[in-house]
């Protein structure tokens, strides 16, 4: 090694020492602020807008169905249900802000319904055929199990739905009431976010969040925690204790055969959030902390899991009974578990504490 090269290498070593601490310091206040603003304006609000417009369309479609109950109008309502459910699954990971008010998150989708409340409460309403029970005032106090998308699914995807709608006008009234209620929630959430977004845009200690880190923590919880929920609730519950003891009807939205679509929508939303904010996305901030391998691994896992889910060639309630697909679902479950570990591990370099007593208390 020449003297020149030695000097250069010494210089570069000391340069590294100077630079390294900066490289590994936590993301700056400005970077987190940028992510926080982008997450709201580019991810959360557009997705609530989609929920708002699709639920408005669904409400319209149900009114047409009731005016003229035929195969075409039922199919249209079912299609609008699918669009609305996809929209909801695409923003379900956000469990803070206006969606929490009045338990809207549970009202939109009460699931899992372990005590079968949806069926029971729906039957109470249907058998009473009391139009008064559908007044805005009365319906507001109805069970949350009948106020949202699972109730609409039961009504619209019943095997004899068309003949029921043709012969039972009350069933139509009830469907309209629920669809309107869902659309009302979609509308109100968007409206309230217009104001609520201030909480993320102006964090000065006087609002809901004490500082930017608190706001970012909520956003990153929305990124990390749903992965485990998808695995535990949406895959492991229907898989049951063994291949001989599967629980197909524990699949989410099995009546509309969209259990897997729901999970794809969930993971695509999380994947988008991971990349929201451009240079200040969690993905990029992780790379800036010197954790490029972690950042890329998480990125690839999202894509791979989504592809694996899409490759399942049958509805989930059938797939759990198919030996080959059962194994494949176990593989996906393992991938989701690894993704949870990777995302939680990523909070280290990002210096975000997702929750200590709230997540693992006693």
């Amino acid at each position: 090694m020449t003297l020149h090269k030695q000097a250069f290498s010494l210089f570069s070593t000391s340069l590294l020492l100077l630079v390294a601490p900066h490289l590994q310091a936590a993301p700056s206040e400005a970077q987190w602020q940028a992510f926080s603003k982008a997450a709201v304006s580019d991810h959360i609000i557009p997705r609530y807008q989609t929920l708002n417009s699709s639920s408005a369309q669904l409400s319209l479609a149900v009114k047409q169905l009731c005016q003229q109950p035929d195969a075409a109008s039922l199919a249209n309502s079912q299609q609008q249900f699918h669009r609305t459910m996809t929209a909801w699954q695409g923003i379900q990971h956000v469990q803070f802000g206006p969606v929490q008010t009045l338990m809207r998150n549970f009202s939109l989708q009460f699931w899992p319904d372990k005590k079968n409340l949806g069926a029971k409460q729906l039957n109470v309403l249907l058998s009473a055929e009391d139009s008064n029970s559908l007044s805005a005032e009365r319906f507001r106090t109805a069970s949350i199990a009948v106020k949202g998308l699972p109730a609409l699914e039961r009504l619209l995807f019943a095997k004899d739905a068309l003949s029921q709608y043709q012969t039972h006008p009350f069933r139509c009234q009830l469907t309209t009431t629920v669809a309107d209620y869902v659309a009302g929630m979609g509308h109100d959430i968007v409206q309230e976010w217009q104001l609520y977004q201030q909480e993320f845009q102006q964090i000065d200690g006087n609002g809901y969040y004490d500082d930017t880190t608190e706001a970012v923590t909520d956003l990153l919880k929305a990124l990390v925690e749903p992965v485990e929920v998808v695995r535990d609730m949406k895959i492991l519950r229907p898989l049951g204790k063994s291949a001989e003891r599967t629980k197909p009807r524990r699949s989410e939205s099995w009546r509309s055969e969209r259990s897997i679509d729901n999970m794809v929508a969930n993971l695509e939303a999380l994947h988008e959030l991971y990349r929201t904010g451009g240079d200040n996305s969690p993905y990029n901030l992780l790379k800036l902390q010197g954790a490029s391998d972690q950042a890329e691994q998480i990125e690839l896992s999202f894509s791979r899991i989504i592809a694996q889910l899409k490759a399942i060639p049958m509805p989930l309630y059938q797939a759990v009974k198919d030996p080959q697909q059962y194994k494949q679902l176990q593989v996906i479950s393992g991938e989701l578990k690894a993704q949870t570990t990777a995302l939680e591990g990523a909070m280290g370099p990002l210096e975000i504490q997702l929750g200590f007593n709230s997540r693992d208390g006693d």
Binding site: T101, F106, F110, I144, D210, T217, N357, S358
Partner: protein, 369 residues
Amino acid sequence: MTGINRRQLLAALGAGLLLPVIGVQAASPLRFASASQDSQKQHWLVLFDEQGNSLLRHPLPGRAHHVAAHPTQPWLMAVARRPDRFIELVNHQTGQPVKRINSGPDRHFYGHAVFSADGRWLVATENHIPSGKGRVVIRDCQQDFAIVADHPSYGIGPHELAWLSDQRTLVVANGGIKTDPNQGRAKLNLDSMQPSLAYIDSQSGALLEQAQLPDTLHQCSIRHIDVNAQDQVAIALQYQGELVDEVPLIALHQRGQAVQPLHLPDATRQQMKQYCGSARFDRSGAFFAISAPRGNLITFWQRDGQFIDSIKVRDGCGLAATDQPGAFLISSGNGRCYHYNLRTRRKTKLPQIGMQPQAWDNHMVHVTA
């Protein structure tokens, strides 16, 4: 207060200049202790003061839960969280270890233990693993913590315990949830759990009274309690059923009466996510606070059961009385501590304790000795 903290303010004004004006003795800052976890997942027992000074940082062999100060010796104690098996005692003046109690192979601790007021006894809740039954075990602080009594807790999963004012009766929160260390922290009996509040004579081990919630609320685990001078027991519940169920999360009890579930506004109750983390009376015993870390809320109550107010504290769980009536110190899982005073309704953030933020564990105590 922005830009300048209290310590800086005092330094700037000059403590000698300020004190004669308000006419008080140079009071030393209040001290508190809590278990914590740092960013490397190491667990610590920490003694700190309200000015942000870390006075003791003692490494723990695992995650701890409750922390207490011995009434006469300069000892701090940290109790292992279930299903761990240690109680760590350390001299907070010298930093020297005093004792590490091991529960033995057939037992584990549940995170809570108390000293008797005279400092002689150390009482802990334990699980007898082979039977799954709760135990209340008394050790002698003067005989190297030898076990002198091993009473039943009259329930499964005993959690927090406290002395009544007679200094003889113990009140034990039997959480009702069966766990087995061989199955980690999994809850094994949610369908049949029967939580209770057991009043036990510490000398004979006899059950003096057992209070329960109505059967319909059997999934409300009675976990954290505190007692005031009138022997009222403030109860922080954790509901194991559905998030949407409308159940009480806070209750009061007094011997000879039924458990009194307390009412709080719907929106507040829903926000608490069926989970309370800690219960503490203030210095006067006229007020108590209940933390709800999953809801990022601390609620405040009068001793008659009247709800006063709630404040937001992110991942806030640890609560301690201070030297003032109506005042509490609150700690959080994201490393913060706050003063809250019910009279002024002001929440004040303490300076960061130590060099780097640490996650404060469930419970905190005001250290007076």
